[in-house]
Structures are given as C-alpha cells and as structure tokens.
Amino acid sequence: MMNKLDDLLFIIGLFLTLIGAVVFGTFLFGPDDVVQTIHVNRLGGSMLLLVGLSMVALSFWNDRKKS
C-alpha cells in the first residue's frame, strides 16, 4: 500500500472517489435537491466515483502488468 502512495494515478483516483462518495452520499441521505429531472448530486457524484474508481483500478492493473 505504501508503494501506491507514489502512484499519482492512484492518489488522484482516491481523491475523486472520496469526494464522489461525499457527493453521492449527500444525494442518498441529504435533503431533496431535484433540479429539472436530474439530481445534480447523483449525476456529479456518479461521474466522480466512476472516474475515480477507474483510475484506482487502472493503477492496480498497471502494477500487475509491470510485475
């Protein structure tokens, strides 16, 4: 795990996942924030989580490729 802290792809992915979780959590547990037909926090949180988790997964996949 310490090695992963050297990996910028992992760090940025972790950051986006964390804030994506906060935003998505606000959608799930916070007050209703419907704008038009889109829940903004659902949309934004999903995007952040998707990109963040993809980057984390890619960083582990890169490690497997190298080893």
């Binding site: 910028l8 940025i12 950051f15 924030d33």
Partner: protein, 549 residues
C-alpha cells in the same frame, strides 16, 4: 451563495490531498534538478495534462465562460485557432531543440544559441511576468470569494498562499505539476454537470442556435469586418494576431507551459507532450465556453436564471460561471465546483512561482551572482526563492487591490514579451545565420515597438499615451495588432542586423538549429510517432472549425 459543512468538508479533503502530495514528493527532492526540473523524469500522461493545466488557471476558466456569454462560440478561436496549431508546431519542430539542447529553461536555450545579454533580457521580463501573474491570481481568488461567500480578503490571500508555499517548498516543481493534474480532473468533473444540465434546459445546441443571435453561434462567418461581430476583430487580426503571433508566441516560448514538456522523461515523451495535450485541449471549449453560451441563452429566455449586473446596469460577465454554480449546484456539488475554482487559482499561482524559481535560480542567480556554487547551494537557493516568490506574489496581490489597472498592465507585459520572442526563436531555430547581436536588438526593438504602438493607438479608452493615430473597435483587436507589430519589428530588425554581423560557427550550433541537427527516427508504432499524432490533431481541429462554422 451559502456553503454548508459538506462543502467545507470537500474543500478540506482537497487541502489535505494537496499538502499530502507535497509531503509524499519531498523524499524525492535530493538535488536542485529534482526540485527545479522534477529530475526530468515525468511520464507522458502527467506532462501532457500538466501542460494544459498550466494554462487552465481560474482566470482562464472564469474568463472563457465570461467570453462565451459576451462573444459566443467565437471564443473557441482561443483553442481551435489560438492554441492547437501552435502546440503541434512546438511538439514537432521546437521540442527537439528545447529538450535536445539540455537547456534547463527557455532563457537558457537563448544563451546557448545566442549570448548572455539575450538570455538576461528575456529572463528579466519573464520573471516579472510570472510574479505579476501569480499575484494577480491570488488577488482574483480573494476578490471572487469575498464577493461570493463573504470570506475576508486577507484570509483568502494568506490561506491560499500558505498552502501553495507549503507544497511547493516541500516538493518543488513535481508537487506543482502533480497538483495541476489533479486540478485538471477537478475542473472537468466539477463543471461538466453544469454543461449537461444547462444544455438539457436550453434544448441542446439546436436550442442555443434558436435562442441566440446567429453571430453568437458561428466561429468564422462574421469575421469580415470588425463591426460585424461582438469581439470587434476582423479575419486578418484574428488569423495573424491570435492564430499566429500571440498563439505561437505563447505556446512555443512561454516557459510556464514549455517547462511541463521539458521535464518529460525522454525526448519522445517531450515531443509528444503538447501533441497528446492537444486532444483534451480541443475539447475544453465544451467545458469552459459552453457555460457562457448556456447562461446567455437562459438569460434571454427570461427564466429564473439571469446574468448578474454591475452597479451601472451592465452585465457582469465575469460572474457568469460562479452564478451558474450557485444556481444549479446544491450542497455537495457546490463544494466540488468551488474546490475546482480554488484548485485552478492555486495551481496557477504555483505554476508561476515554480517557473519563476527555475528562471531566477539558473538564468539570473547562477548566471550573474554565483556561477560556481555547489548543487546543494542551488537547491537551497531554489527553496528560498519559493518562499520569496510567494511573498512577492502576496505583495503584488495587495498592489492589484490598490491599482485596478494592474491586470491591464499584466496583459500588456504578456503581449510585449511573448510576441517578439517568437520571432527570435523562429529565426534562431531555423536560420543558422541569425546572430547574437541580431537576436538581442531584434528582441529589444520588438518590445520597444510594442510599447510605442500601444502609446500611439487607442481601444476602449486604453493606450494612446503618446498620441492617437488610430482607434480600434475593441481591446482585443488592439492587442492583436500590437502583437503583430512587435513580431514584425523583431523579425525585420533581427534579420537586418544578422546580415551585417558575424554568426556563430556551425560546430557551436549543432543541436540548436534545425539544419545542423540530426533528425531522429524512432522505432515505435505509427500512432506513437509525432507526425501521425499531429495529423490526427489537425484533422479533428479542422473538423471542429467546420462543424461550428
């Protein structure tokens, strides 16, 4: 705009990560090259994203949305005409010299190619420009958050400057670059939802075309005369001023962006940095300009979103993006959107300070004050310069608060320095006959010519302090004309003086001039070759220009 605990939590997470990156990178800072040049070891994806992020400060993000609302899709010229071609030129033709010469900075290339006085002239101008720019970034951040959130001016300045100082002192250029990459993702993911929701609300591009005047949804059709478009420029001013002089002058010679390519791990990565960066760059108008178009369309539709007004009743375009954030984003995404703005202000500041650091340490301190210091000494100088650079940026931010026209001054310095410099580089890199005397006097006269042109011409009440020979329809047209004059004067003077002075011997110019440098042939897949990447980039960019004709 009211932030809740959730929004502040997101901002806090960002600050923790930013400082954390500084601490993580600190262990790698073993010598001055690590601190000031990232050891020239960064992979392509990092250098490419940092390359565009270095030019994606909050003033650009906020400014492009403002321009989108004011000028429409014509604003995309700053990308599809005013950036992509120059980035391609840099990657294909200039990076082999920047990287191959082992120059540690753009001014250092000038001393290798020409002489010390040419390097020093450029280094002084660049150092002043980066400090001003850093201070103005800080000032703009503090003003924006004072206006939107009621944060005290001093608190914003000291908090932002303190965090930037911490992570750049710890991790040098690597820290700044890593945070620029983080900033890129924050900006794209922080603003993209607004574009999605806004387009849905206005009816997509077709809805924008229907609700806005035709001139706002066309890039080229209304360029026949200055009076036929809101930008107040004609085709020649746009093509020559922005598309050639300013664009190539900035993207090919400004050390702040070129530095991000110069720190790549090898020549191949260095050459491909601006080419790979061109792909996200050409899509950025959809993220940064479209919010402006959407805001204008919503304003015209007369719904619950209206563009903010200044005290005199005119639209305050600069608040377009913040107002959209406040209108569409609830707590949660509001924190993300504001964190994206904070990140871009702070990265803009860090980028300028680290570029200033390299130029000061190598091109001014080492060149003139202490030529034979140890590497430990220059590492120490680099760290001290980080602190001094931030302090000077804070001072400039307070100066900007006292003098409103400091931002105009910054724009002028920018045009005066970059426009003639490109003429110097073009002749220096591609004509071995260019002499040191020609280069120095060309640069000097080009800068002087820009100053005099500004003094003799007027636009929007600015300039004309020597007289009024011509009045331009817009500040933009004025700036483009000054850039063309600066470039032309520098080019002609450099050429003329070179013909009558002695050039360096061919042996001294190997690796510095196109005709005297061996062309490398790489053993890579066709899609990794710079020319192939460049061709794809230019085809897509041409298509985008056609699509939004």
């Amino acid at each position: 705009m009211h932030l809740t605990g959730i929004d502040y939590l997101i901002i806090l997470i960002y600050f923790i990560f930013v400082l954390g990156i500084g601490f993580l990178v600190k262990a790698k800072m073993k010598n001055s090259s690590d601190f000031l040049q990232s050891g020239r070891s960064l992979p392509l994806w990092i250098t490419a994203l940092a390359f565009i992020s270095a030019n994606l400060g909050a003033q650009e993000v906020i400014g492009m949305a403002a321009s989108g609302a004011k000028y429409g899709i014509m604003t995309s010229h700053f990308y599809w005409l005013g950036a992509i071609p120059a980035m391609v030129f840099l990657g294909i033709f200039m990076m082999p010299f920047y990287y191959g010469s082992r120059a540690r900075s753009v001014p250092e290339y000038l001393v290798l190619r020409f002489d010390e006085k040419t390097r020093t002239f450029n280094a002084l101008g660049f150092a002043a420009m980066t400090l001003f720019s850093s201070g103005v970034s800080l000032y703009a951040l503090a003003i924006l958050f004072q206006t939107l959130l009621g944060w005290p001016f001093d608190v914003s300045i000291l908090l932002a400057a303190g965090i930037v100082m911490a992570y750049t002192f710890l991790g040098g250029l690597t820290s700044a670059v890593y945070n620029e990459v983080l900033q890129f993702f924050l900006i794209v993911l922080g603003i993209a939802p607004i574009v999605y929701i806004g387009l849905e609300q206005v009816g997509g591009w077709a809805g924008l075309v229907q609700s806005l005047p035709p001139v706002m949804t066309s890039t080229w059709q209304y360029m026949g005369h200055e009076s036929s478009n809101p930008m107040g420029v004609n085709l020649w001013q746009m093509a020559l001023g922005l598309g050639f002089v300013l664009s190539f002058g900035y993207w090919c010679t400004d050390f702040l962006v070129v530095q991000r390519a110069m720190i790549a791990k090898n020549m191949s990565a260095a050459q491909r940095t601006p080419l790979v960066a061109a792909f996200p760059k050409m899509l950025l108008p959809f993220i940064v300009i479209f919010p402006g178009l959407i805001a204008l369309a919503l304003h015209k539709m007369g719904g619950d979103f209206q563009l903010p007004l200044k005290g005199d009743g005119r639209i305050d375009y600069d608040l377009t993006l913040p107002m959209l954030l406040g209108h569409y984003y609830p707590t949660g995404m509001l924190g993300v959107g504001l964190t994206a703005l904070i990140a871009s202000f702070m990265s803009g500041m860090a980028g300028n300070v680290t570029a200033f650091n390299a130029v000061w340490t190598y091109d001014l301190y080492q060149a003139h004050i202490k030529k034979d210091g140890t590497d430990e000494h220059y590492l120490m100088v680099g760290k001290v310069t980080t602190v001094v650079g931030i302090i000077l940026s804070i001072a400039t931010a307070y100066l900007a608060r006292s003098f409103n026209n400091i931002m105009d001054l910054l724009q002028l310095i920018f045009g005066f320095i970059n426009a003639p410099l490109f003429a110097t580089f073009m002749l220096g890199m591609f004509w071995k006959r260019t002499t040191s005397a020609g280069a120095f006097w060309g640069l000097f006269m080009g800068t002087l010519g820009a100053t005099i042109t500004h003094g003799l011409t007027v636009a929007e009440g600015k300039g004309g302090w020597l007289g009024n020979v011509h009045e331009f329809a817009s500040g933009m047209g004025h700036a483009f004309f000054i850039a063309i004059m600066a470039f032309s004067i520098c080019f002609v003077v450099t050429l003329a003086i070179s013909l009558f002075t002695k050039p360096k011997a061919d042996a001294d110019l190997k690796g510095l001039v196109y005709s005297l440098t061996e062309k490398r042939v790489e053993n890579v897949s066709w899609w990794e070759r710079p020319y192939a990447l460049a061709a794809v980039v230019l085809v897509i960019t041409t298509y985008l220009n056609y699509l939004y004709w």
